[in-house]
Subunit: 538 residues, 2 copies
């Protein structure tokens, strides 16, 4: 039988019915041998016939269906149509019109995009955004149906991945039906702009590559000990003194640019302002924010975590996070909370006195808890949810499962941590196995691909609390010179793990598809490194 079907799920009887007309078409003679398209991440269901349809770069158009709730006033879709037309047909080439028109096959003239519900065209995506879509590619008009623009964006990417060129160079696509939706709603990439400043261009290119891999969260670890590039309106000295230089700053215009660019690709931007640790750079522009460290009765001149005992600290945090909550539209802010070093707090006599007054004993976890609870209250008052690193949970800070998501990052025993966090009723996001800054020789993407995020002991209710995961590229050894090839296509392995069905685990098949997918990224301008020996078609 000439029909090839690859469908990772057991096919339902209704799906088989859908296939029938395609089966009937399978006898039509072929212009060229069909190649299995390198879809990445693999959709939930793909059904194809060997029948080829031809696309003319001159006349093919992507446009709104008549019955769509979105129209030409939906800039998000208009921009996506333009973008994907370019991805499908390339940028610079002069299409050979004479050759195109002489193609003997059936032509496909349009892709109609139909939004069937309130489009959310002008909204920002969030954790509940519907990314499902259905794509039917047939002559002479293909239809992409989605309830929201978010699904349309994902479907456009899939459509663009289905098109290839036959041996004569003509653009072709097989008759295809795709039904698709993500396995996890939170599929993140973490970038770190504190260890090294990343120019805007690098961030935008990362967002492009994320869209090619159906990621939907940019976790922007924007500040840390090393530099504070976020330009605050309320506290301009934070970047004025805490950034590497005046040139290494994200202005509000820069940030708006990132936010818009991300939204148009269905990507949330969650900023992380990590505290009370990892705040060395904050102290440069904000006096009395950090705890002064002591050696005996003398100040050392060094500073530790944020000083949790002063009212001025919380006044500052209120103003600062109010601003942040307005600048970043996402309804979550990442508050950090990892790796708080207690030694400086322990050394400070005022902190010691405060601990006594509060009856915290020797439990600096209680002091941390005191701080975090006040911080969470501040952020909650801005109507934002929050994410925190696992230590906040581990140290038994009292948190509200309705508003806090716990991120699991420690390397060892992360299954146990997922189990504990979800047993306590918290939603969680997994990072531990996906620290892409740890490089090694060879095909480490296989290790990332192998991970099964739900393989931990817990009830189905617990499993449902796993929102997804994030591939983290911490910045100690990464800047604009090497970020793109280090992140891609290694992060693509995480992308498929978080989007595709849990049964999609065939490494050889993944290797073949990912090899082609990385070449597609290269053709689209992303310097994604090779998986192994070989070359890309130009």
């Amino acid at each position: 039988m000439a029909l090839r079907v690859f469908c990772p799920r057991v096919m339902s009887p209704s799906a088989l019915l859908l296939l029938l007309p395609l089966l009937l078409l399978a006898g039509v003679p072929l212009a060229a041998a069909a190649t299995r398209p390198a879809l990445w991440p693999l959709p939930v269901s793909v059904q194809q016939t060997p029948n080829l349809l031809y696309l003319s770069p001159v006349s093919f158009e992507i446009t709104h269906g008549l019955d769509s709730s979105a129209g030409p006033d939906c800039f998000l879709l208009q921009d996506a149509f333009r973008r994907y037309h370019q991805y499908v047909f390339g940028y610079s080439e002069n299409p050979d019109v004479s050759r195109m028109s002489s193609s003997v096959g059936t032509e496909i003239q349009k892709l109609l995009v139909v939004i069937t519900s309130d489009s959310e065209c002008n909204a920002y995506p969030n954790i509940t955004s519907d990314e499902s879509y259905k794509l039917v590619v047939q002559a002479s008009v293909a239809v992409l149906e989605a309830r929201k623009v978010w699904g349309a964006l994902r479907g456009l990417e899939t459509f663009s991945q289905l098109v290839y060129r036959d041996s004569y160079g003509a653009y072709v696509i097989n008759e295809t039906e795709v039904t698709d939706f993500p396995r996890f709603p939170f599929r993140g990439i973490l970038i770190d702009t504190s260890r090294h400043y990343l120019p805007l261009k690098t961030i935008l290119m990362t967002l492009d590559a994320m869209a090619f891999n159906k990621f939907n969260v940019l976790h922007w670890h924007i500040v840390d000990d090393n530099s504070f590039p976020y330009q605050s309106m309320a506290f301009p000295e934070l970047s004025g003194k805490g950034a590497f230089s005046h040139a290494h700053v994200y202005t509000h215009t820069d940030i708006r640019h990132v936010l818009d660019y991300a939204r148009l690709r269905g990507i949330r931007v969650i900023p992380e302002f990590d505290s009370p640790g990892h705040t060395n750079a904050w102290g440069k522009g904000q006096e009395n924010l950090l705890t002064a460290c002591y050696a005996g009765s003398q100040k050392t001149g060094f500073f530790g975590p944020v000083n949790p005992i002063l009212n001025t600290t919380y006044d500052f945090l209120s103003t600062f996070f109010k601003e942040v909550s307005q600048v970043f539209p996402d309804n979550y802010i990442h508050l950090g909370g990892d790796e708080v070093d207690f030694s400086c707090w322990k050394s400070n006599p005022d902190v010691t006195k405060f601990m006594e007054e509060q009856g915290f004993g020797q439990s600096y976890e209680k002091l941390e808890s005191y701080y975090i609870q006040k911080l969470v209250d501040i952020v909650s008052s801005t109507n934002k949810g929050n994410l925190v690193w696992q230590e906040v949970f581990d140290n038994k800070v009292k948190l509200n499962p309705q508003t806090t998501i716990v991120e699991v990052w420690k390397g060892s025993y992360y299954e146990k941590e997922l189990s504990d966090v979800t047993a306590a009723g918290f939603a969680t996001v997994l990072l531990s196995p996906w620290y892409l800054d740890y490089i090694s020789y060879g095909q480490d993407w296989r290790r990332y691909y192998y991970v099964e995020p739900l393989q931990f002991s817990g009830t189905s209710t617990q499993k449902e609390l796993v929102l997804g995961g994030t591939a983290a590229l911490w910045g100690e050894y990464v800047d604009a010179t090497n970020l793109m090839p280090r992140l891609w296509p290694r992060a693509s392995a995480v992308g498929e793990r978080l989007w595709s069905s849990k049964h999609v685990r065939d490494e050889n098949d993944a290797y073949n598809r990912l090899t082609e997918h990385r070449c597609r990224m290269v053709r689209r301008g992303i310097p994604a490194e090779p998986l192994y020996v070989g070359y890309c078609e130009l």
Copy 2:
């Protein structure tokens, strides 16, 4: 004392005499605090005073000294003068002339380059090329003296590294005297264009970066099992069928471009045509060249190493290497000879018969030796020396120490191998500790830097046979998307080890200089990755 001297060697009395006038100048008031320049690799002797001299981007010129044996008809130097003027002052900036002219300090108006012997301006560099130079930077004219153009090129690089910008943005240089020459005459970078094709642009950029690090040999592993991109005139089918595609070929025009570009930077290009193993791609365009493998009495359809028993093999090799010897001007060709798998030879009944006739017994090393000796004879008849991988020596192939250099690449016990190879009277080049394709997390440049190539047991005569080393970036996981940041600045560590005095081993000092040096490379357009957290001045 305000005078800072850093001189890795014990200073000779005559050097101290040279210092005297500088010491006398040390009382002159300073326009700005002098920063120790980040020289990389560190010259043999650098003597500086805190006195600053100003350079005007508008009027400063690099030109020939009156008593130089080279003049404006020496294109190599003319091109270098142009290049280094750009490196010193940047490309795109409009110098602020008003500010420049208001500088209160002493101006340096020219750098005069004086070649004191036959310039070798139109020659290709070789293993005996003199790269020594002496640089005296003083008002109002600096002088760079070298016996040959090769030393002038190295001195221009050093001069360019000495210039920096003061806090007002003015270009300044300290009064300086540099005496310099390389510790080893062979300082190589290996690139591999078979596992992945590298576009010309990537190769040329690599040559630029090599010049910035005073490397002088491009070891071009041009063909291998995976593809044959070298376009042979005599055997066009070798690339016609053996290259990845028609677009993945180095034409003779391409190669000329590389050779010229390298020569202008004082860099030799040594092509490697590895045989008899690693030749799978050769077989696609040249019938009967490879050994047919057998399973019992049946051919498997697979092929092994070059077939060493046929006269046609040597006819082919004669014609082929005659061409190669004409295309590549260097007086050495790398013949490979590594990792010959004997199993296919063992399976082939014709080979077995030949072994019996020759009385080789079961020693396939003897068969390999038979092949290599004939190959070496062929190449020697073109008046070229040859390099081979260590197995050729290990397998006791009879070689002539006058014409063969043995390259040590195996990872374990390389000190023992260096000892054995040099005890047998062979010149050698070390690669083992510098396989830069093996990546790992963190600052692995320190490991490369730590290596001491002469730390093996042997006489001083043996040590003198160590010509140098090569940093190898094999191509399994490397192509144009990631080559530059993976190679630089990690290879820079090898560059200093091979150029600078053996006493230059201070890792902290190296870290500081290399951090600045990598930023300098970035400013010159090389995407060299960061050593650690931080940023580059723009």
